[in-house]
């Protein structure tokens, strides 16, 4: 009896890990880093989580969860409401539909995939943001933010793959 309860608890913990990790990344990316331009330049870390889990375990990061995480990012950052929610959802759906292509390939392929997603996401953000504030947003900061996102992806992906193996093994 206790065995099955324990097993179920561990199952819940395992299934909840990717979502919790993405939640921490949302909060962490909004922390006050206090370096010049930090609020504009810290890349959207949760986007990397959405992409990564979309490839390897879309079952553990379902669409509604990605949408809620994006909504949280929107609300806490005070930006256009629904922007990240839509972006996370679309990225998750697109990635999950293409996951067969990525699975079993070298990491570089995954990284290139992310590098293809980032410009599309940031172009969408730039358009939505410009409409939202009613003025053209300086694309420079977005460009640097996007490049930083691509640069940070391998490290974060590596961390998440460790978590993924732990989740899968127990």
């Amino acid at each position: 009896m206790s065995d099955t309860v324990g097993a179920r608890l561990s199952q819940v913990a395992r299934n909840g890990t990717p979502g919790l990790l993405a939640l921490i990344l949302v909060l962490f990316s909004l922390a006050p880093f206090n370096f010049p331009g930090s609020a504009q330049l810290v890349p959207p870390l949760a986007l990397m989580a959405v992409f990564h889990w979309g490839i390897y375990r879309p079952d553990l990061l379902p669409g509604p969860l990605a949408f809620i995480l994006g909504l949280l990012q929107d609300v806490l950052s005070g930006g256009p409401l629904g922007m990240w929610a839509a972006v996370f959802l679309v990225v998750l759906v697109v990635t999950a539909s293409q996951r067969r292509f990525f699975l079993g390939k070298m990491f570089v392929v995954e990284w290139l995939g992310f590098a293809l997603v980032v410009p599309v996401v940031f172009l969408a953000n730039w358009t939505i943001g410009s409409i939202y504030i009613g003025a053209i947003v300086d694309p420079g900061a977005l460009l640097v933010q996007g490049l930083l996102a691509i640069a940070f992806y391998p490290g974060l992906s590596w961390l998440m793959s460790i978590v993924r193996r732990m989740v899968g093994r127990i």
Partner: protein, 253 residues
């Protein structure tokens, strides 16, 4: 998608509810980040110790001279006030708060504070740090508040040029140096002029230091804020004109 634009009361309440719920968590998450920031700062300070001491000694000499001047002026002011039997300025009360999220991204310039309505924070109040004005309170939850920084596109603050006494409005445009607009024709603005709040509108106390005029070229007057945008950690919310605030609260009930 652009739901936030509609200023829907329900959406607004929901937003504030979420911000409220996550403020304590953001507080916890931001602490290790602050610790690392402090460490980096400490390290830099140790490296710059000698030059810093030299700079501070020089500044101290200068400030001592100013202190003498200020004392003399204070006494002079007091005697003039007594002569005119002028009313002293309304008092203001400061609420200390910590920046828990440096939010905003490329579109808005805001930060989240870990103080809200229960601490006495209200919409429109000025937020300052040791250097000068940071921004104004834009949204208030029960225990969290969002500050619209002076640099935000939507920030408008009535200001006055301390040297010439001319009034204007400090308008943010998402760049680090906000612009001075609505100046009278042939306004005499020079680089180096100090800009302070004028107190018009009644919500902000007059005389809060904001910045110095940095450039006057290209038809745009740019003001360099005294606040270092990259070192916002502890701030204070200025609760100004308590009597009026109490009156407004009574009226609501």
């Amino acid at each position: 998608m652009l739901l936030g634009r509609f200023d829907n009361a329900a959406v607004e309440r929901a937003r504030l509810g979420i911000v409220d719920a996550f403020a304590p968590i953001m507080d916890v998450v931001s602490r290790p980040v602050s610790a690392v920031n402090a460490l980096v700062r400490d390290f830099r300070e140790v490296v710059d110790l000698r030059s810093e001491v030299a700079r501070l000694t020089e500044e101290n000499d200068r400030l001592l001279q100013w202190q003498t001047v200020a004392r003399r002026l204070e006494a002079e002011n007091a005697s003039f006030r007594a002569l005119l039997s002028a009313k002293t300025e309304t008092s203001s009360f400061l609420i200390a708060a910590r920046v828990v999220a440096d939010a905003g991204g490329p579109f808005v310039r805001t930060v989240l504070l870990n103080a809200g309505r229960r601490d006495g924070v209200a919409k429109g109040q000025a937020v300052v740090n040791a250097n000068g004005m940071v921004g104004r309170i834009a949204e208030v939850g029960e225990r969290a508040a969002r500050v619209l920084l002076l640099s935000d596109l939507n920030s408008r603050v009535p200001v006055v040029n301390e040297r010439s006494g001319q009034r204007g409005v400090l308008a943010g445009d998402n760049s680090e140096w906000p612009q001075l607009i609505f100046l009278p024709n042939q306004a005499q603005v020079q680089p180096g002029d100090r800009i302070v709040t004028s107190g018009h509108g009644g919500l902000l106390p007059p005389g809060l230091p904001i910045g110095v005029v940095a450039s006057t070229g290209d038809g745009a007057v740019r003001v360099q804020p005294l606040v270092d945008w990259h070192r916002l950690e502890f701030v204070r919310v200025v609760q100004y004109d308590l009597q009026k605030l109490d009156g407004a609260a009574d009226g609501e009930r």
